[in-house]
């Protein structure tokens, strides 16, 4: 069963052998988890979200027509559910988030700080940088940099042309670079 293609397993699951679905979960759990991490940046939330994605995918499996690859369909669902999760979290913890977003880090002295503090600062920087991207740029960036999908695969998931994905990735990197430059500029003035 482990070596069978996705569509064959899906057919078996749709015929009633629910246990076969376990093979699909095991095959894609790490990729889905990585994508969730790219959006939520928290291990526990990402694990819960991954579980929800596979449960939803199982419920919708009968509607999967096989026009696209199962992985493409699954990643698309992962992205949508991750964004929904972020939206809910934003509404729920509005004030807390405002506090988290305040970024004022002195990176020039990071070699003297504790590892954990550095990791926390890195995470803050990453969250801050990603929050500056548009939704499409964010999706493309996560699929490309967290999952290592090719531009063609990203284009399939996002239902775009490869050129459009290249453009999105280019603009995402440029925007992140601009943010870093702003930070550097601020720190240069401080120094």
């Amino acid at each position: 069963m482990k070596t069978q293609p996705d569509n064959a397993i899906i057919e078996i699951v749709n015929k009633g052998d629910k246990q076969a679905y376990r093979y699909l979960v095991e095959r894609y759990q790490q990729k889905v988890f990585q994508t969730c991490m790219g959006f939520v940046h928290n291990e526990d939330d990402a694990a819960d979200l991954t579980q929800d994605v596979f449960i939803r995918a199982y419920e919708k499996l009968s509607s999967f027509r096989g026009n696209a690859q199962f992985s493409t369909w699954l990643y698309r669902m992962t992205i949508n559910m991750s964004l929904n999760f972020l939206r809910k979290r934003k509404v729920a913890g509005w004030f807390q988030r405002m506090d988290d977003d305040s970024i004022n880090v002195n990176y020039s002295s990071y070699e003297y700080t504790d590892d954990n503090v550095l990791r926390l600062e890195q995470k803050k920087l990453l969250k801050h940088a990603l929050s500056k991207l548009s939704r499409s740029q964010y999706k493309a960036f996560v699929l490309s940099h967290y999952q290592d999908l090719s531009n063609q695969q990203v284009a399939d998931v996002m239902k775009l042309k490869v050129k459009a994905v290249e453009s999105l990735l280019f603009r995402a990197r440029r925007r992140m670079r601009d943010l870093l430059k702003q930070l550097v500029k601020g720190e240069s003035h401080e120094m």
């Binding site: 629910k18 246990q19 679905y21 376990r22 979960v25 095991e26 759990q29 790490q30 988890f33 990585q34 991490m37 790219g38 940046h41 291990e43 990402a46 694990a47 991954t50 579980q51 596979f54 449960i55 199982y58 990176y107 020039s108 990071y110 990791r119 890195q122 995470k123 920087l125 990453l126 940088a129 940099h145 967290y146 990197r173 992140m176 670079r177 870093l180 430059k181 930070l183 550097v184 500029k185 720190e187 240069s188 120094m191």
Partner: protein, 141 residues
Amino acid sequence: MKCSEFEREIDLFNRGTVLSIEAQKHASLCPRCSLLLQHEKLLLSAIDQERQVTVSPFLSTRVMAHLERTESGFGFKYIRYKFLQVAVILFAILGGFIGSGLMDRNSRLEDFDIILTDYFNIDHDGYGIEDSWLYYDIYEK
């Protein structure tokens, strides 16, 4: 090398990019570009750290357990739903019966009142006087 050229050259997001000797020299001389390089490395290492986190090996078991629970709960849910439907219909029928019974009882009371009134008013002493007062004009004519 100018700062703008350095910025163009460092694109760490394209993995495997190796800085040229010129760029390395520039970074060692220009504090601003050196800081920019540090930041970009920091960002990239944050992404790498998140990518390296592995999912729990029990995730598939958790998913399958959840699906089992949902499937077994489906029968009970279905029966409960159907039971509720039947209960609502029975309640509506019962309500109808009780309502119609009450209405009948009220109407019977009304009928009884009319009979009683007629009974007491016929041959009642004052009835004739009252009648004559009421229809005085007619009688006069």
